[in-house]
Symmetry: C2
Subunit: 255 residues, 2 copies
């Protein structure tokens, strides 16, 4: 994930100012789940919930309640003992911790089917991201209007990133173009890249990159199936078919 120079030193664990020990000490695994809690809280808020307990929020998020409380405790005290968490307050707290209150501006490169799916995905705006630029190298697509935005030529990419003040770049191009696009995004000063190419793209250490590899997800799924079948060899055991009560709409407090 880092180009050259043996693994970026994992040192750096002493806090700079005692004021903002916000980000550093949160485990990576917790960060991933915070994003989940945030989404669930959004649903609860839409339903009009005001207070939610760790048990309820955990169930709706698919984790254990102890884990959830531990996760939230990294952000400092958030709830009221004997009562629960204030939905609105907790949401704001997590958003702030994840850095979503800074209004990220996203550029997307590659408007094939995947790119179009991303461009049209309403979930981004709702979660603090705004799509500010679409790019492609296909002359037939440049100038086209997709979801209210005009597709620009990828040749303008680097300049446009600066001009648009983009903070996140998304690569949804064919594999052959991925590294080149990546280099351009990095060259333009972007430090956050989300790639849908299965290739291991090379980036300098200061750039943060996440990769979503669709085929890989299926492969992991395939393995887990094999593992499960080993456990319960032939047939699905009757016990595991009997499902418990759904946790949808628990006893969340409403106005």
């Amino acid at each position: 994930m880092s180009r050259g120079v043996s693994r970026a030193a994992p040192s750096a664990s002493r806090r700079g100012t005692p004021s903002a020990a916000q980000h550093r000490d949160i485990p990576q695994a917790t960060v991933t789940r915070l994003a989940t809690y945030l989404r669930v809280l959004g649903v609860l808020a839409d339903e009009g919930a005001i207070i939610v307990s760790s048990e309820e929020l955990a169930a709706a998020s698919g984790v254990g309640s102890a884990k959830l409380r531990k996760d939230l405790s990294f952000l400092g005290p958030n709830g009221v003992r004997g009562v629960g968490y204030d939905v609105t307050r907790l949401r704001a707290r997590i958003e702030s911790a994840l850095g979503l209150d800074r209004g990220h501006r996203v550029v997307l490169v590659g408007v094939g089917n995947l790119g179009r799916a991303l461009a049209g995905y309403g979930g981004f705006d709702r979660r603090g991201f705004s799509m500010v630029g679409l790019f492609d190298c296909d002359p037939a697509l440049v100038g086209a209007d997709i979801g209210g935005m005009t597709v620009r030529d990828v040749a303008e990419l680097a300049d446009a990133c600066r001009e648009l003040d983009a903070t996140i770049g998304v690569i949804a191009t064919p594999d052959t173009a991925a590294q080149d696009v990546c280099d351009q995004l990095v060259g333009a000063g972007l430090r956050c890249i989300l790639s849908f190419s299965p290739l291991t793209l090379e980036i300098p250490d200061h750039v943060e990159m996440r990769r979503v590899d669709l085929a890989m997800e299926m492969q992991v799924l395939s393995f887990n199936l094999a593992r499960n079948e080993e456990q319960s060899p032939q047939q699905v055991s009757a016990a595991s078919v009997a499902v418990g009560a759904s946790t949808r709409n628990g006893s969340v407090i409403r106005p």
Copy 2:
């Protein structure tokens, strides 16, 4: 991730027959990386590589060499000391371990932009999956031809799954339809589901599910950016910009 009944007991750790201790004891984290190694080995094979060392394969995969060797050791001895790994043999070994040699048959529900991107994604066939059915509920889409396949009505889903002998179901529908489609897939006997809905879908314990949440990936990215900026406050340090030598095309042995 499991519906009802407090967490499936994590017991079950004794091996059944000593013959096939293949699947059980492989750590989840290792499984994820095996999928990565497999892809990289594919590239190496295409380039004509015959033997590869742990150092080279690790670098191309973006992990440390010790970790790679440890990962591979879970599959038994695979290499030759003092030499390296036989590319073809190792590939076959990993494919077998991941259960990819059983020829998974995939049905895809929801052929919007995302669904189309998945249907047209060449990477699946190349990695042991074949798309056998496309479904949608939109009458305007049913009957349409996408990538050589005819879109069928989602009403036929359950029957078609059995008839097509599908082993993996992919949900690429809007959120509102996700749980319903999921229930149908489970009802038809599928035990492997890949969902692109951010919702926490409810499934019985014997079904394996993976979720890809695009907005969540961006949120995690956002946090990591914030963390990095705390480390090197204002400007990118000059040291981290200096990138080392690329590891592309190392000294892999060719014919």
